[in-house]
Symmetry: C2
Subunit: 352 residues, 2 copies
Amino acid sequence: MIRMKRKITLKQIARELDVSISTVSKALRNSPEISADTKQKVQAFAKLYNYRPNNIALSLKNRKTNTIGIIIPEIVHHFFSKVIRGVELVANKRGYNVIIGLSNESFSKEVINMEMLANGSIDGFILSISKETLQLQDYHHFNETMSQGMPIVMFDRVVSDINCDKVIVNDFGGAKSAVEKLITNGCKSIALITTKDYVSVGKLRTQGYMDALNDAGFELESELILKLDDKLDYEVHLDALENEIEHLFKSNKSVDGVFAVNELYALSAMKVARKLGLEIPKDIQVIGFTDGVLSKHSTPSLTTVSQHAQVMGEKAADLLINRLETEHNENEDETYQTVVIETDLIERKSTK
Amino acid sequence: MIRMKRKITLKQIARELDVSISTVSKALRNSPEISADTKQKVQAFAKLYNYRPNNIALSLKNRKTNTIGIIIPEIVHHFFSKVIRGVELVANKRGYNVIIGLSNESFSKEVINMEMLANGSIDGFILSISKETLQLQDYHHFNETMSQGMPIVMFDRVVSDINCDKVIVNDFGGAKSAVEKLITNGCKSIALITTKDYVSVGKLRTQGYMDALNDAGFELESELILKLDDKLDYEVHLDALENEIEHLFKSNKSVDGVFAVNELYALSAMKVARKLGLEIPKDIQVIGFTDGVLSKHSTPSLTTVSQHAQVMGEKAADLLINRLETEHNENEDETYQTVVIETDLIERKSTK
DNA sequence: ATTTGTCACGAAAACGTTTTCGTGTTAAAA
DNA sequence: TTTTAACACGAAAACGTTTTCGTGACAAAT
């Protein structure tokens, strides 16, 4: 049976050594007020009993928790977990902890989670907006949080209505250069597989696609654009997804290039193409938009637009902590910045 | 410019309403001591100003944070992120928050992270041991944490030296039934691709493999066992991994079945097999051990042993919270339990 | 002998709660 | 009229820190 020795406090040290709590505190912080003798005695005792200041008490006293709250729609997702890793990395380096909340793409869970954390548990938020919130366009909880003096940094899924620091991917540019790559590689009829427009990133990627076609003098054919309703969880209903894509291919036999706004769509496109007897990349070339793990290990491996998720997390954490650690004058107008992370085109075997 | 209205406290409400702090507190908690009039007044005021008790102050007062600390080796990993989701799910349901720390497979980071959180930030730990810690076999930080009265629940990577609640996968059984499946499917020469033995799960899966062969009257051929050093990050050095596997196949042409202890090894085996002109599952059948996303989307899709990561997380959270919420008599000997999560064989296209 | 100054330490407040106990006021019982 | 009881509220302690300010002892300077 293990001997229980509860964490020791200043008060207990003070009692043992027959000095006051203040003296112990000062001795441990090496205050010049305290004599060398006493310091030595106190420090030795503290080390022996492995004294560590209680974080909660410190948080209360300093009105600062040194903890960052992350709210994301889903954690079982490479993009988001990479962002978390980035946040954790710089947070830890700068002396902060990270506490996570999952909204599960639900508005109410997002609100509840934020309220729980906002009541003193954390100093600021890093978050990506849930799909439901984006649809409802109800952003009161963000504004309320910020009006209470708690800063927010949004990443990836952001919205221009909210005034705060943001870290976003150059979705437009990434999509455009992907499509340009397809054009350069000789594609004449390029399909787009995307989501409904309310998710800002889907919209921007669609615009990048259109812009690239436009610049190259291609005509925009709406039959080549497949807008999927991501209400449906295609991880579960893979066949539904594949049917949609198969329909696209069959009614547009000339398609020789595909740009998909995420990894799953791209892989499904490749799968369907193969099923229809098309060779990749000879007959049809495919590019996805993602930071996922599937691309690298698919057959053929998938050329993708990398979003540098971890860098986004790091940047978001830096933005937040910088704001937390600069004195904000009461009446000075805050000025927020939006950091754009550039994408990289990672060429693999699904393009020529 | 947004108007700043800092979070309101009991003291401020008390001052505004010209009553004492105690009265406000009691009124809000509907104490019978307080008159209906006063209650009404206080509650209305509190609602108007959206009063919420400060979590930190409550934690300090109650010596209970209602927060769980998770320490995992890596978050960009489907297995671990699914576990987190499970933990988060039941933690939230039961009124707890989750704070994460990444050890990054490093002993020192594991120790530091635990110390940070153990100083009052959390009520208990859920963790999976880092590889480096497993190698060093230095578990003092776990024992110290527990001796301070902070419970630990370990999952997946556990060690029998430590006395605490545990949630593990039936690695032995899962591996055994996978290999049995291969045997049933007609495989005569089954290779094993595994890791070095210090990670307990690798060891157990290897034993499952051997036991299945043994039961079936097969002879154990050591050339069929490939033990890979996972010091090398094979995500980065994929070619090195594939070379090893290619060597295995070339020097054992008779191999018609492969059991791999993780997803990456299994996929690489399939890739190499294809490269060598073997058809899957006709010429060679492959089964992996994982909860990952690659298996489902690979070509052919991979038959795997599912570990039910989310269930592990849920179970671990329940174990921890149960322990936190039962009065533990000072001198009563604690008794710990180990929950074994059974695996499922998910049959896909890499087996007949 | 008195003033000044330094040294080494302790008391107390503060952070935001909850809770125990005490107390003044009023109405009912003796 | 006096005692008792219920009622409604406030003071204070506690959780574990840090920090400001005050103070007693002693030595040095006047």
